[in-house]
């Protein structure tokens, strides 16, 4: 579980986060949504410890991040997995080496143990024949799956995903969304996903936080988001023609 209390973050005169509080629950896919420039990425980077908020606190399973020593912060980071928007796989390493990297870095496992773990997670993300390929030799969807495998190889308590299905076709995007949700439930981890993809919201939005201009504008589930009267949320959700039709159908059905 991650508890965020009133965090503020600025870059010079640009006050990006203006006091956000939120609770990200364990075993659930928690989504952060909002328009570009709403502060989603900065918020996620604060959760990851890449940015330090000027005010407020972030607690991981009751432990306040700002009170940890450098060593403890480093240990905590090993409990975090991150799937970056562009996958962020190491170009010079094969798929297998990419996934094995955190094990190599932080564990004392033998080569055989590491191989077993890498094979297991790659199989879990349905990648069996790509061990010796380089990131440039595989598709975007496969790269995302490698990134997920790398993120979960250390059995993290917290999984963060930044736009995990951007640049993917709708079918692959749904597969990735479902994979993240399955992994979240299977390993009972706290997953936070940064997205503005409404399909993801519908598919896996067990808890949704809507940001607008650096503030939390709305909070709810994927079922509630289509019923809310919050103008900012409805403007965002129904900005596409498809969802306008979905809403129309919903209203007609209700009447």
């Amino acid at each position: 579980m991650i508890e965020v209390d009133n965090i503020h973050k600025s870059f010079g005169d640009n006050h990006v986060l203006k006091g956000i509080s939120a609770l990200f629950e364990q075993g659930k896919t928690n989504l952060i949504i909002g328009q570009s420039g709403s502060g989603k990425t900065v918020f996620l980077k604060c959760l990851l410890g890449l940015f330090v908020p000027e005010e407020g606190s972030i607690c991981y399973s009751g432990t306040r991040y700002s009170e940890l020593s450098t060593r403890e912060k480093s240990d905590l980071r090993q409990e975090m997995g991150m799937v970056f928007q562009g996958s962020a796989l190491f170009d010079s390493m094969t798929v297998e080496e990419n996934v094995r990297f955190p094990l190599d870095m932080f564990t004392k496992q033998t080569t055989v143990e590491m191989k077993e773990r890498v094979d297991f997670v790659l199989e879990r993300v349905n990648l069996i024949d790509a061990h010796h390929k380089y990131p440039a030799e595989i598709s975007g969807g496969m790269q995302k799956r490698v990134a997920i495998a790398r993120a979960i190889v250390m059995k993290p308590k917290y999984l963060f995903c930044d736009e995990p299905n951007s640049g993917l076709d709708p079918k692959t995007a749904i597969l990735i969304d479902n994979l993240i949700q399955e992994i979240t439930q299977e390993y009972n981890i706290t997953t936070v996903i940064n997205t503005h993809d409404m399909n993801s919201v519908m598919e896996i939005g067990e808890k949704i936080i809507f940001l607008k201009n650096g503030l939390k504008e709305w909070e709810g589930t994927n079922k509630e988001i289509f019923k809310t009267d919050n103008q900012a949320v409805t403007d965002f959700v129904y900005s596409s023609e498809l969802f306008k039709k979905v809403r129309q159908m919903y209203i007609e059905e209700r009447n």
Partner: protein, 245 residues
């Protein structure tokens, strides 16, 4: 003010490079990879340039020694002094800034752009130690490359002198041995070590702290080349004044 801030940031980066070291088992393979990439990968161009620079220095010296009372051995002496004191350590370093420095800036810059550095940080890896430290250690072997440059440069001078008929081979070799001061070689290697540290760290700084996309990676490489060259030229002057002045 901007430049002072950048200099401060550079020294903070250097401090960070030596903090929280990466596992030795992994670091060892990274160092070997960088030695291969940065040193062995540069030997070809170093040898090629040194040979011809040695030759050109010899020809120019010979063409300017028109007085028949000046012994031909002076051509060998001038070639040795020029190559050992300046051309091998400084000229080669500028070439290395262009080749190795651009590679360092663009590879680290690309890792920044594609969030690979963020990925390292999120995992709890000291990305500066992981990326920059192996390059610093690898470039400690740079004096060996410069020693080869010295040898090949003088060889180039001998070939130019003999085959261009500017001086007999024996006279040239006699000149190489006149007034040889071993400290000049030590001076050249000390300079080289300082330059090696600059070549490893300054381009890394420009790559690590760059912002933007592919275009900015190119711009960062160019900026790194310019500033690293400037720093090497200034350091060359300071070190020469300190050690030989």
């Amino acid at each position: 003010m901007k430049y002072i801030a950048a200099i401060g940031k550079y020294f903070i980066m250097i401090w960070e490079v030596f903090r929280k070291p990466t596992k030795w088992r992994i670091m060892k393979s990274l160092i070997l990879k960088e030695i291969d990439e940065l040193i062995f990968g540069s030997l070809g161009i170093i040898i090629f340039i040194s040979f011809f620079i040695g030759g050109v220095v010899t020809i120019q010296t010979a063409l300017n020694l028109t007085n028949p009372f000046i012994p031909k051995s002076l051509i060998g002496f001038a070639a040795r002094q020029s190559v050992i004191l300046e051309f091998a350590p400084t000229f080669t370093s500028i070439i290395m800034v262009g080749k190795v420095g651009s590679y360092i800036t663009s590879s680290i810059g690309t890792m920044r752009v594609t969030e690979q550095i963020d990925a390292l940080e999120v995992m709890g890896v000291n990305s500066l130690n992981y990326l920059v430290f192996p390059k610093i250690i690898a470039l400690l072997f740079y004096p060996f490359a410069v020693a080869i440059a010295m040898y090949v440069g003088i060889l180039g001078g001998w070939v130019a002198a003999v085959f261009g008929e500017y001086a007999p081979g024996g006279e040239f070799i006699k000149g190489l041995q006149i007034d040889f001061i071993p400290f000049h070689v030590i001076y050249a290697f000390i300079k080289t070590l300082v330059f090696a540290f600059v070549i490893a760290t300054m381009p890394s700084y420009f790559g690590y702290y760059m912002r933007g996309g592919a275009l900015e990676v190119g711009k960062a490489s160019t900026t790194a080349f310019v500033w690293t060259s400037v720093v090497i030229i200034i350091l060359n002057y300071i070190l020469t004044q300190l050690m030989l002045g």
